[in-house]
Symmetry: D2
Subunit: 293 residues, 4 copies
Amino acid sequence: MKLQGIFPPLATPFQYDGSLYRAKMFHNVEKWNKTALPGYVVCGSAGESVMLTTEEKLDVWSWVAQAAGTGKLLIAGTGVESVRETVWLTNKAAEMGYKAAMARTPHHYKWLLNRDEPQLMYFRAVADQAKIPIIICNSPLTTGVDISPATVAQLSEHPNIIAIRESSADIGKVMELVRTVNKGFHVLTASASTLWPSLQVGAAGAAPAFANAAPYACITIWEAHRTREYEAARDWQDRIALAARLTARYGVPGLKYAMDRNGYYGGPPRLPLTVIGPETKREIADAFAEIRG
Amino acid sequence: MKLQGIFPPLATPFQYDGSLYRAKMFHNVEKWNKTALPGYVVCGSAGESVMLTTEEKLDVWSWVAQAAGTGKLLIAGTGVESVRETVWLTNKAAEMGYKAAMARTPHHYKWLLNRDEPQLMYFRAVADQAKIPIIICNSPLTTGVDISPATVAQLSEHPNIIAIRESSADIGKVMELVRTVNKGFHVLTASASTLWPSLQVGAAGAAPAFANAAPYACITIWEAHRTREYEAARDWQDRIALAARLTARYGVPGLKYAMDRNGYYGGPPRLPLTVIGPETKREIADAFAEIRG
Amino acid sequence: MKLQGIFPPLATPFQYDGSLYRAKMFHNVEKWNKTALPGYVVCGSAGESVMLTTEEKLDVWSWVAQAAGTGKLLIAGTGVESVRETVWLTNKAAEMGYKAAMARTPHHYKWLLNRDEPQLMYFRAVADQAKIPIIICNSPLTTGVDISPATVAQLSEHPNIIAIRESSADIGKVMELVRTVNKGFHVLTASASTLWPSLQVGAAGAAPAFANAAPYACITIWEAHRTREYEAARDWQDRIALAARLTARYGVPGLKYAMDRNGYYGGPPRLPLTVIGPETKREIADAFAEIRG
Amino acid sequence: MKLQGIFPPLATPFQYDGSLYRAKMFHNVEKWNKTALPGYVVCGSAGESVMLTTEEKLDVWSWVAQAAGTGKLLIAGTGVESVRETVWLTNKAAEMGYKAAMARTPHHYKWLLNRDEPQLMYFRAVADQAKIPIIICNSPLTTGVDISPATVAQLSEHPNIIAIRESSADIGKVMELVRTVNKGFHVLTASASTLWPSLQVGAAGAAPAFANAAPYACITIWEAHRTREYEAARDWQDRIALAARLTARYGVPGLKYAMDRNGYYGGPPRLPLTVIGPETKREIADAFAEIRG
């Protein structure tokens, strides 16, 4: 399986009463289908997976599976704290046609889990029982836990662990991952702000939340990199700098507003996340003025 | 509702295949029923709530409700990230006879949620819709998020928010909470290591994981404090110092081993947590040598 | 040597042009001489030691040595990063009549020094060469480094290391220190906000910056504790709660303003620290309204 | 003033009794003179400036000024906590022929100083009074304080503040700095591990401690970047990856051992830093096997 290019971790649309918004999920996916995005991550952190019940995750996976265009690679965000439930969710997604599952590092008991042994154990145990390949998701900002390149390198030898989505913008870490993982194991970045430098140092692609609202800009940087047009890549990276930074700063609520502006349905996040205020809206609108959806 | 004394956050028993162990839940509760513990917290962090599916939480709540002795106050750990699901769980627990619900601070999107506005909003929204009173659970070590005394003071004015379980061992914070919250709002500590000093500065009680394995020691400190036998209280606090510290350090796996030694069923935690090794067992056994269950 | 009671780490007075203000150092010390303070710490963190040149430290030590009343125990803040210079400064202070030296944990190369080996080595090497006893100063908030109770317990066996000034408000740590250090080794707290609880769990005394501005309140708590008037101790602790907290929050600039209000010379801190603004002044004035100097 | 290329922050040589080693300082500088290094930073963090007395700093500055080859740009590390002493040191260095001074962010009172206002004030106050231009040094790992790109952008407008040495390996931050600072203001990285990516995104050069031991490798990456030989640059970056990482991990003691191996005098660091053990030596020796001095 080749994980090359931009895989947005899809935002999950809600109605203003807080319930899932099926029609808008279809609307958004159909619009993304028209782009060169090679696939989608469904129910990751940007998809507010922590706000969803199990039933709701199954619904969202099913809807995206129906709506996704031919050839779009489907990746399910299935990581929860226990090995047991992560495996169950992963295999449910597999039944629905998902080709890979992304699982974040377990982290509730940080002082016990922020170490190589439990991380190795967790991902191996999940991968052993999963019917589809596993992608490690490392997101220190949300989990408070980090997985080291050395641990990832060990996990990269497992035949059913195929990639990492590294959420930090640490290029030195991306370089070390690229340098030390098994051949065939892919390194993806989650950071739109360092998309081009990550590709330059060997990342195979990216899964940035920002791509929900700005797929073309991300694809353009990817293409410029692929065709070795360094000036263009750097120029585009500069153009999205502010928009990418604000999307990271304001999180899902900011992202959803940017989606609303760019022809997708963003809508409200689930409480306790709230719609951003007018000043933040203006800030985001300005940053996205030249970036189309 | 008076929250005075020691309320252990019950460990959840699992079989060695990872499934819930109903019989042992009853065994443990029946043993705790014989103590002067005034009540139980069911499915909190020490109960591995993050490892349980929704169905499993309902099962555990139901079992403890059946097993609990007359007059034991039942508190359900119902906090998850979304307001919506926390309310649903809380009201399910209410139907089963739970008299209060404990909800931890939401924290996945830390950089957005580690502030007073979303914290105020979350707890008010939950409390408004909950059929039983809400206890705030602050546990920076697991959540990576902290709630300030000023925010708690504001929340203490809500008629359906009745207490905080403060997990940090910060006595200055306990003092400030006691000094600033609304009359009738209770401050509980979760820290066995600072149980006596917390009571001294005005905490109404405690909900320490340690009390699963060592209820009598905790009750003794509480009683010594209540009857103003300061020397005895300090002496007992010293006696449990090492055991309390190790229980905190080794988390649920260490706690479960201490329970096994003290006549309760501890058993294995759920993966990726794992049974502690022989050296840690020895360390815990030594620390608990003089502390009975 | 008995380290019992309140030892303020003296603020260093500057003129508005930034130079040392000799006359005001005498003025302040003469005023403190009239209290029951058993001694002074000179050129510690609250004395802006990091802002002073070596010559200036020697001047300040000499002035306080001249001004201090009979029987006041003189402690010099002599800790800098290198063993070599700390020893030199310590022995200079010894020549001037200082009876002990306080040295903070070295910390510039945090990732190398935040461990037991270099901490053991540093304090042993300093103590071996020092002509007066050494007091360990642990101040994670300024150093970014912590020293563990186990390391302190080992250091407490050194005949020339006699105490620790623990700056955190962590009562559990104070208890563990008290429980594990060598007999005769003293534990002092630096936290005015937890003065009484610290004494309750066995601290021998305190060295809080707050005592510069509010020596009587600190002495009152100490005396109430010593004579087992627990209600009075707790009551006084509550009375200073806000003032102590604000002094900690606003640091040396806030402390100096409180001193100005209470009959001492506070004056300006050295740049880049700056005089506090009018709103903060009002906040501090309110908090100190009932607390005399 | 053009700050392009590699400016090593020189290690300070000590004898085994801890005193400065003048002859070895000359030996090292004469060897570096033969390389294409455009200049030197003298008495920065890698030069153990925090271990040096004021007199010793003046000595080292004077020796390097004498030993440096024609055309080598001399930069003095002059930052200490107070504006006053930083200015004094800076102007002393200016008298000795130093062309610029590097000052780290003040940080002792972290909770007061880790903000834009005191950072703006400090650097402006220093720059206003300094006879030579100022280079901001941002080193969160040692200071526990960070300076934001927005603050640096404001400082870049001061005519006497000419550059920043950013010690983090955060390429996103380097990009943002490059994008937002005043024209003519230079961004240098301190991170050998991300040297090439930093140059790619617009850094003008680098001041990595690693260059003490491996000047040629650093210069080669710089040259490959300058001549747009991207494959070569990336290849060299990969070759130094492990050595650069170990140098960062083991700090000055590790760096000095690598220098010893590569024909420079490294010698011992000052206590409490200590010579590295045999295993670490082997690790470093292996990593540097193919990297000449």
